[in-house]
């Protein structure tokens, strides 16, 4: 079983990619108008929107990069996660109602539409679109890098394939991503998020149980090992220190309301899940 681990992982990754492509094709059949493409015809339910927001928030940044951050700087990086509730509460309280009413009154298709309708300004539409574009570039690059890194490491474990360059993995990752986004629009994006979210939940539980079982004494054993090496790393401020952690908290408390990469899930939720009575 252990000898086949790489092959099993490769099969799972290929199945995952195929599932994403299948979602793209399925979404293509459901997408008939630009409104379907950008807003899923306002037909997404609360559960679908919620899981999509969850997986978008966690994403490659949290799921692949997060463990790396915890390894590198200890508990400092957990302060990012502590804002999960407060950040979304602020988003809901401050933005959801206004966007919901704006959607009723002016029927915007995208956030730039909503901003242009709110301020009656085409210039504001342009600046919003540019801001989203700039935000998405960095966000998307992180996601693609995470996906490509996982793919490269999985392929490296398969003796028949061996080392594959990161650039080739980026190309494959981009191709899958572009296919399902272009063919299925927001429907494909949200439903692949739901698919990914389900995988993340299962994987997180399995990793949690596996990690706990792999160390004598579970979390107590891990804590004692870390305390012997560097107490601060397992303390509340981690390796970075108090002010760095609190600054991180402040940035993510406010930043949750505005990450442009979450725009599609946020829009879907605002249009359908959060506001509709």
């Amino acid at each position: 079983m252990e000898a086949q681990r790489g092959t099993i992982a490769l099969v799972l990754v290929v199945a995952y990619g195929a599932a994403c492509l299948a979602v793209g094709l399925w979404a293509l059949r459901r997408t008939r108008t630009p409104r379907d493409f950008f807003m899923a015809g306002r037909s997404l339910g609360v559960v679908v929107s919620s899981v999509a927001i969850f997986s978008t928030t966690l994403s490659g940044f949290g799921f692949v990069g997060g463990p790396g951050l915890v390894y590198r700087m200890g508990l400092s990086s957990v302060w990012l996660v502590l804002t999960a509730v407060t950040g979304y509460v602020l988003t809901f309280v401050l933005l959801a109602k206004r966007l919901r009413l704006l959607a009723e009154a002016r029927d915007p298709v995208s956030l730039p539409d909503a901003v242009a309708a709110r301020y009656g300004s085409e210039t504001s539409r342009l600046w919003t679109a540019l801001a989203i574009l700039l935000g998405v570039l960095g966000y998307l690059a992180t996601q693609i890098l995470a996906m490509a890194t996982v793919l490269r490491d999985v392929l490296a474990d398969v003796p028949a394939i061996g080392e594959v360059g990161l650039v080739a993995c980026v190309v494959v990752s981009c191709a899958v991503l572009a296919f399902y986004c272009v063919t299925g629009g927001i429907v494909a994006s949200v439903y692949t998020d739901v698919f990914q979210g389900a995988i993340m939940v299962v994987a997180a539980v399995l990793v949690f149980l596996s990690a706990q079982a792999s160390v004598d004494g579970g979390f107590t054993g891990m804590s004692l090992t870390l305390l012997a090496d560097d107490p601060e790393s397992i303390g509340p401020w981690g390796s970075l220190g108090m002010l760095a952690c609190l600054s991180w908290y402040f940035r993510f408390l406010l930043g949750t309301s505005g990450p442009q990469g979450e725009r599609h899930a946020g829009e879907a939720a605002v249009h359908r899940g959060l506001g509709r009575q």
Binding site: Y71, A105, E232, M242, L253
Partner: protein, 174 residues
């Protein structure tokens, strides 16, 4: 006092505290690379690096909790009043601030006796993970509980729909 002024005051306070952290407090929060694992950072001496910034950090944390509360109040107000949300909001903020201060107190204990564990983690880390993290769920519950009466009543949506229909009719779109 107007809520917008409170918010402005808290933002200015946060900015001043951060400025103080950058310009007034010396660079005490240095990290060092682990001698055996170069990709790993070490936190160095906790007592030495926390001493100059403890008060500043405590103030910054409390300002953030106040800022969160003010933003929450801003979004939950209806016709200028928090109504039934006011008291639970104050209780929640007091709880949030109390747990944060408990974390700071537990960290003091941790510096003297790091081996004291609670549910698998050092005491302050346990306070952070098991208490500070879940407290904001109180505010989420408040939002859900009072959504219809304070945030978005069905008549709000109906009124906006009616206005949208009237505007569309005036503009000849319907």
């Amino acid at each position: 006092m107007r809520l917008s002024l409170v918010l402005l005051g808290l933002v200015v306070a946060a900015a001043l505290l951060l400025l103080a952290a950058v310009f007034v407090v010396p660079a005490t929060e240095q990290v060092v690379v682990h001698p055996d694992h170069p990709t790993l950072l070490r936190g160095a001496d906790g007592a030495a690096r926390i001493a100059p910034v403890a008060l500043l950090g405590a103030a910054f944390g409390l300002v953030q909790i106040g800022f969160f509360g003010a933003c929450f109040a801003l979004g939950m107000r209806r016709r200028g009043s928090l109504g039934p949300v006011a008291r639970p909001l104050w209780i929640g903020l007091a709880l949030y601030a109390g747990v944060f201060l408990a974390l700071l107190a537990a960290y003091r204990v941790f510096l003297d006796d790091p081996a004291r564990l609670l549910l698998g983690f050092p005491l302050p880390t346990a306070v952070m993970l098991y208490a500070l993290w879940p407290v904001p769920l109180w505010f989420l519950w408040l939002y859900l509980r009072h959504f219809d009466e304070q945030v978005l009543a069905p008549e709000d949506v109906e009124r906006v729909r009616r206005i949208a229909r009237e505007v569309a009719a005036e503009e000849g779109r319907e």
